[in-house]
Structure formats: structure tokens, C-alpha cells
Symmetry: C2
């Protein structure tokens, strides 16, 4: 990227979202208080891609939502996302101590819990200047995300999880908030038809995002945690697809997952997943979700900002193909 | 109480709130899912006094709020209260493992966190049929409660906490939701003036409730956990009052709280608190809060349901006097 070029509108928007988040979490800070530090630490993580604010920006453009509404909704989405990560990372009595520098480790479990609660409150509070159903739908998203989070925990190690169950978890965990990032700007702009279409499209894109993530775990290049899903007994789409396809693989997976999994066993299972053609199947599922997203958009496919969303989805597809070819 | 007597309107109301909560948490239950079980376990605890639903019922009567609105608000308040208890009980890496049968022990930390999140979502969702600011103010209450919860954790063992800081914590922890139990039915009924008055009155009553709780810790009768605040380094109002009053006690407290406190040391400090006249001072503060609550009500003091709130406050005062005399 040429650094002399002025920032694009979406980059300018993401910069504003970052700035507002940083300011909001600073204003609130009192000396010696750890809560806001924890929230800040999570929200301002340097690697944050701000996928949700980008969706809000582009979908908002399509319905000419005001910049104020788009900023509030984007900030809210990022806070809900970050708060859900903080809560997911609370240590489960040593059962799933996965991260190393999560909030609960740096601060404490209780701080992580309360920081997340504060973020939910601040997030919803940002929506009060807009149509009431902007907040109502955000509250529903929290419910969907929470139910999916527990389903995901309870699915850990479950070889018998169906692909439909996998999709329901992905739709709740990622799709609900992606869908809201589309619906909320449309609701704020008073366009109920666009809201319904963007919600459905966003949900499909969220599931696509999750499929791309599952594929990434199989990719060999620059992937030092390759096959982490197999190691952590996380039943990803390709793993479940292989298990449904091959009784031999299913039996091997069941045997391995019934006890502690070594990195060597994970690698061995990973090669079996790849040999079964699961990467290809996952890529096809990803294409199907992106197609379904565009079907849901109908005529709005050609609206100004939606083209940028389409480009984003195409990049997701292209990346998944690269992973797959390399795999 | 005579069991032949038909239930009073408020008892019938509390029964309905219980029934609705149980139904709501049942409908949602799926086989093998622990999340709703955890929520249910917390909400349907047999000892729940339903203080918040009672406030909603009586304040709602004063402004003739519909029964639907009152039920939704009462259920919401009880869910927010229960969710905050679940989150407060998340084990802080062994630092403050106080309860024995809390959700995090029976289920797991992660289940406790997610159960609380689900309860917040369900709670707020109940409010969408009413004026939008009913939900907006509930979201603000979550923020106030969360900030107070972390302040309370950080105040643990703090001998230098001022009585003003103590009050701010009590106002956030208990007063904010009590105030909302008054304000929300008034907002739903479209009475903004009553909402503002009930909010202030409820906040004072919440602080009074907290003072009564602090006093109870000093009471000898039927109190097997007497002086738990001193044992757990929880700076209660009477403890802080004694420390502010007596430099000798303050020095002793600081010395004891700088290391592990034995039950014997807690009892010894407790006797010093009582000898300083702190129970009397706490009772005076409780009276002042109740007076302030009635001042805030203005002419609404004489409205129908408010008399029942007044009786409740008087019972709080009477009980505190008993504790104090027995102490």
C-alpha cells in the first residue's frame, strides 16, 4: 500500500472507531482501577482487524445511514465482540486454559467477567439515540452468542456433532453479530426491508468467515499452530465432514479424542482429514454460504457499499482456495 | 401467618414472577445443557426474598402501571440481580473463594459467566414492549452495578476507604437496581416526574438495605457467621466508622488485615467495633437514608402503593434496632 495515498473512506472510518473506543475507555479510567484497563487491553489489541466495523460502514453506505449511527453501531459491535472474547477466555478450572496472555491471566477471572459486563453495558448504551429496535436486536444478539458459546463448549470432543449443529453454532457465535452489523444501520436509517436482507446476508457471511477459519487450521504455510482444532478436540467443519464421510477416520478420531491428544496424533489425524477431501468440501460450503448471502441481498446486491462487502467475501474465498491448494 | 387467608396482592404478584421465571428458564432448556440449569438454579433459589419484585409491585401501584409491565420489570430486575450474583461468585483464582455451593462450583466458571450473560440478554429482552427508556435505564443500571462490583473487590482490606466511598459502592451495588425498580414502572406508565422521584427514593432504600446488612453481621443472635465482614476483610460501614473514630482501632484493624485473619481475631475486632458505638452510628445512617427516601418522594409519599414501601422501610429500621440492642 502506498503511504502517500490518502486513506480510503473505510480506513478513515475504522480509524475513528478506534479513536472513539480508546477515548471512551480512557474517560472512564480512574487511578488504580483495573476494570477499564482490562476492557481497553482487549478492545485496543494491535491485531484487531475490525471486520465488524467494516461491515457496518459498507452496509450503512448502502442505506445512507448517518455517520453518527454507523460509528455508534460499529463501536457497539466491536465492544460486544471483545466482551464475548473476554468472557469466553475465563479459565474453566484448568479444563481449557488455552490462551497465555488473556485478560483473566493478566488481570484475574473476576476482572475479566466484570470488564465484559461493563463493555456490554457501554455497548448497548451507545444505541439509545437511535430507533429502539437497534438496541432490542443487539440484546437478542447477545443471547444468540451466549447460547452458541455454551453449545461450543459442550460440543468439545463430540465426534457425533452433525454438520447442521456445527452450522448452528457458527451462526450464533459469528453470524448473529455479523447479521446485526448489516441490520442495525438499516434499522437506524428506517429501511426495514434492507435490515431483514442485510441480517440474513450478514449471518451467511459470518458462517463463511467461520468456515475460512476452520480451513486456515489445515493450511501448512506460516501456521505454527497447524491442526490446533484436532489437538484441542474442537470439532471443526472439515473434521466433522471427514468423520461423516469415513467410518475408519471416525473410529480413529473417537479413539484419539477419548484421551489426551499429542501433537503427533493431531498431525496424523490432520493428514487423514486432508486425504479425505475435507478441505475441498469446506471450500464448497464456504462458496455456498457466500452465494446464499448474495441471494439474500436481492436487488440490494448492486447498492453502493455492498460491492465492497462482495469484494471482502471474494477475498475470503480466494484466501480459502490458497489454503486449500497449499494444503 | 394464617394459611387459610387468601394471598395478598403482592404475594400473588411474587408468585406470578416466580412462576414466569421458572417457565421461561424451562422453555429454554435442552437435554444435556447446563447453561439454563445454572440460571434456573440461581433464580429459583428457595431463600430468594424477591425484594426487588416487591418494590416494583408497590411503586407500580402508585403510578397505576399495567400488570404486564410490572411483571416484566420485576422479572427483569430479579434476573439482573441473580446474574450479578452469579458473576460476582466467579472464582478469582482462589483469592476469594467464599461460597461453597455457588454456580461456579456446582457447574464451572465458564458456565457461570455464560449463564449470567444469557440472563442479562433475557432480562433486557423482556423490556422491549415498553417505552424505550425502560430498557435504556436498565442497561445503565448494569454499568453502575458492574463498576460498584469492581470497586468493592478493590476495596477489600482497604482500611482507608472513606464513608463516602462506602456509600458510592452501596449505591451502585444495590441502590441503582432498587432505584430502577421504582423508576421503570413509572416510565412504563408515562409518569416522568414519579420516575425521577422513585429512582432517588429507591437508591436511598438500597443503601439503607445495605446498611441493615452490615448491621446484621454484628448481631449475635442466630448468626453463626458473625463478624464475617472482619474475617473477610470487607470494609463495612460500622467497621469504617469505628476506624475513622478511633485511631487505636484503626491501627489494630490495619495490623490484622495486613495478613490472614483468624476467627478469634475477627471476634476481638468485632467487640471493639461494637464498643465504639458503631452499631448506633450505622442505625442513624440507616434512618437518614430512609428519611432521604421519603424526602425524595415528595407528595407521592401518600400514593397508594408507597405506604407499603414505607412499611417495608420501617420493618428494616425495626429489625436494625433489634440487632443493635441485641448486639
Amino acid at each position: 500500500m502506498n503511504s502517500d495515498r490518502p486513506p480510503s473512506p473505510v480506513e478513515r472510518f475504522v480509524f475513528l472507531v478506534d479513536k472513539n473506543l480508546a477515548q471512551r475507555l480512557k474517560r472512564d479510567e480512574r487511578p488504580g482501577k483495573s476494570l477499564v484497563s482490562a476492557a481497553r487491553y482487549t478492545c485496543m489489541a494491535p491485531g484487531a482487524k475490525r471486520a465488524r466495523p467494516r461491515l457496518v460502514f459498507h452496509f450503512g453506505e448502502a442505506v445512507a445511514a448517518s455517520e453518527d449511527a454507523r460509528l455508534a453501531i460499529a463501536e457497539c459491535a466491536e465492544l460486544i465482540h471483545a466482551a464475548s472474547l473476554v468472557h469466553d477466555d475465563v479459565i474453566d478450572d484448568g479444563v481449557m486454559r488455552r490462551g497465555q496472555e488473556t485478560v483473566n491471566v493478566l488481570f484475574s477471572n473476576l476482572t475479566a467477567v466484570l470488564a465484559g459486563d461493563l463493555m456490554f453495558s457501554v455497548a448497548f448504551g451507545l444505541l439509545s439515540p437511535y430507533r429502539p429496535d437497534v438496541m432490542y436486536t443487539a440484546v437478542e444478539v447477545l443471547g444468540a452468542m451466549t447460547r452458541a458459546a455454551i453449545d461450543e463448549v459442550e460440543a468439545r470432543g463430540d465426534v457425533d456433532l452433525s454438520l447442521e449443529d456445527w452450522r448452528a453454532i457458527a451462526a450464533g457465535k459469528t453470524g448473529a453479530l455479523f447479521g446485526w452489523c448489516g441490520a442495525a444501520p438499516a434499522l437506524a436509517a428506517g429501511d426495514d426491508d434492507a435490515a431483514a436482507r442485510f441480517r440474513r446476508a450478514g449471518e451467511h457471511l459470518g458462517v463463511a468467515f467461520q468456515l475460512a477459519d476452520d480451513l486456515k487450521d489445515l493450511a501448512p504455510m506460516g501456521n505454527k499452530d497447524r491442526f490446533a482444532d484436532l489437538l484441542n478436540k474442537n470439532p471443526s467443519y472439515p473434521i466433522l465432514w471427514s468423520a461423516a464421510r469415513s467410518p475408519v477416520f471416525e473410529a480413529a478420531l473417537r479413539r484419539r479424542w477419548s484421551r489426551e491428544v499429542s501433537p503427533e496424533h493431531a498431525a496424523e489425524l490432520g493428514q487423514a482429514v486432508l486425504a479425505s477431501g475435507a478441505a475441498d468440501a469446506t471450500s464448497r460450503a464456504l462458496h455456498d454460504e457466500v452465494d446464499a448471502a448474495f441471494d439474500a441481498l436481492g436487488d440490494l446486491k448492486d447498492a453502493p457499499g455492498v460491492a465492497a462487502v462482495a469484494n471482502w467475501a471474494r477475498a475470503l474465498l480466494a484466501a480459502s482456495t490458497v489454503h486449500q491448494e497449499a494444503a
